[in-house]
Symmetry: none
Subunit: 195 residues, 4 copies
DNA sequence: ACTTAATCGAGACGGTACGTCCTGTCTTTAA
DNA sequence: TTAAAGACAGGACGTACCGTCTCGATTAAGT
């Protein structure tokens, strides 16, 4: 998010402080959650002053939003040559990220403040959901070509359905294994090509 | 949760205070949300003392959990004689409740604190989701009998999937109308009986 | 329990409740002081209801005033046939009462609320100081007759002076023994008959 | 008591806030008394946050103790060249200070909590009584030299006696004028040099 | 090498809400 | 009726956190 060009005078902002504050934020978020995490605690753990945080972020929300945004892991479009092979890879990736303490807290926050504060939802959407939705579309498109799935399947709606069930499972954990549960739900939606 | 029998001495807890505090809580929850709603504001609006609240509830969480729990509207199992007629009734009911300001705040809270505070999720599950899940099961059972739907459809999973998509839609509102969106998603899952 | 005689339609426990509440009040007053003593604590220790206290006394002040008033020990005018013999007896009596924890708290309270609440001061004056002032006057009158003291000595002022020094000693304890200190102070005032 | 040397990091404590809170405390103390004066009211009147008070003082007692301590007016040893001229000056000074609303409240508090909380009494002693006791001693010493008073007069005891009578008069106001009363009492104690 | 100016850590600031405690009143059941 | 038990409105207490604001002390870039 750096400006393209920099030639401002004065002491430049410390990169190590920036790293430290994001790290501390993510750690505390995972440990105690958004509400119970105080700015003072973050500053103390990061070994920096609160001023240094507030110079960069207007408030707690923005700091946390950016901290979460900073955890971007690459999403690689799988290509196993087979619909369910690809799907399993995507499900695996999604669950692995979502089921960490940090993932849970992040999703919780995003949902919690969705109506009041669009910030979190936007970040989540742009950095997390959208790439996956696109990967999903590719995978299903290939499956259509291979005639593994009906050609009128709405990939977007299928993705939304999967996201929904994952959200739901996060709050009301299924009795069976997470991946099985999602896989089973998804198989409802992804009906095979009629013979 | 009342004890079966009561003959405890002393002045009984005021029913009107109880009602007033729950009403004020629900109103303020809908208006300003959980975080911005202060206990003093609740007490003032209810025309009672803060003590009276804290005598019943250990903290804000418990008060709000109970307030939400108190909003139990009867869920009536629809019977239009037709699968999609019944489904539409259920969807209509669910969306109407979920899309009110109160509904949104309630869901937000429930989700938000799901991992840290099981209280909200439990209440939501018991008082809201479970009755609907059962209604759902009945409706689908009847549809199976009428051979409107394949006999191996897992009603529970279908319900979870629908709940998930509703949750998702609450955070990332669909571009089309809510009920259409849910209906469309549901039609993916509830595939008709193969001819 | 205490249902040895069950023929009381009226108020059989009235007297014992009264005694219990005064006793509890005096105990707690001595232990923790006026401010830190709560009405609930008094009621609990007395094994009675708060209502029972408030039926008799309008507020804490009045209860405590009455409790202190209830501790009336007889003041006997000493007559040793000698001025300082009598004085020593009076000093001894005054210090013994004032130096108990209860005495200290009582005096503290009385002084503390003197400007705002005349109640305590009045009780203290009527029940404690006035009898002593009169005893004092008698003793000095006799001393005048015996020509142990100048005939123009103002007994009232001498008493006030002694009371004052006791008050002062209560707050700023003298280094020597209490009775010696007061005796010494008093000897300043009670000058002997000029030869 | 400031440390001799200061170079602690961070923003220094606001001197104006400090002054404002002491001023507000003294005003409210004089107006409504210790018990009826709330910390919020103090903060509001001083135009500061409650936090700022509690950062400096652990509780209301300590704040008030320091506020009273802060009112130190210089006591000037009078020198009229005559015993009673000097005494009158001292009496005048003492009564003027003690008879203000603030003075009365201060004395009330000091006495009230003398046994439980030594803080108030200590402050009163060090900042108020001790300087006067010393002034008293000087004045009487000079009177001895001038042979206005017996050389064996114990100045300390005379001072204590006068303080006592003032305390007493504060609680049980004399019928005559304050200064006359004190003066009369003092004349008993300070007997002239025998011819 | 010397300015210059924005940064840093530290921590105080005003404000708001929390949950506890206490007073004096009210309302019930039991006797 | 009176007692006991305890709920009630109101209000102060002292704590925690937020986002802002000073401090003296760095730290580079541009003279």
């Amino acid at each position: 998010m750096k400006d393209a060009y920099k030639k401002s005078p004065g002491r430049p902002r410390s990169v190590s402080s920036q790293r430290a504050m994001l790290k501390a934020t993510l750690e505390l978020l995972a440990e105690v959650g958004f509400e119970k995490m105080s700015m003072d605690a973050i500053a103390t753990r990061a070994g920096i002053g609160k001023t240094t945080i507030y110079r960069r972020y207007a408030n707690k929300d923005e700091l946390v939003a950016d901290a979460i945004e900073s955890v971007r892991e690459e999403i690689r479009v799988p290509d196993t040559g087979n619909l369910w092979g690809d799907m399993d890879a995507l499900i695996e990736n999604a669950t692995q990220i979502t089921l960490t303490p940090l993932g849970k807290q992040a999703v919780a926050m995003i949902i919690s403040s969705a109506s009041s504060n669009a910030k979190f939802a936007r970040v989540y959407w742009e950095k997390y959901l959208l790439p996956r939705k696109q990967a999903f579309a590719s995978v299903i498109e290939r499956a259509k070509v291979r005639q593994e799935v009906a050609s009128d399947v709405d990939a977007g709606l299928v993705f939304d359905t999967m996201s929904g069930i994952m959200l739901y499972a996060l709050i009301f954990p299924p009795e069976e294994a997470w991946t099985d549960y999602i896989r089973r739900s998804l198989s409802l939606v992804l009906r095979p090509m009629p013979k």
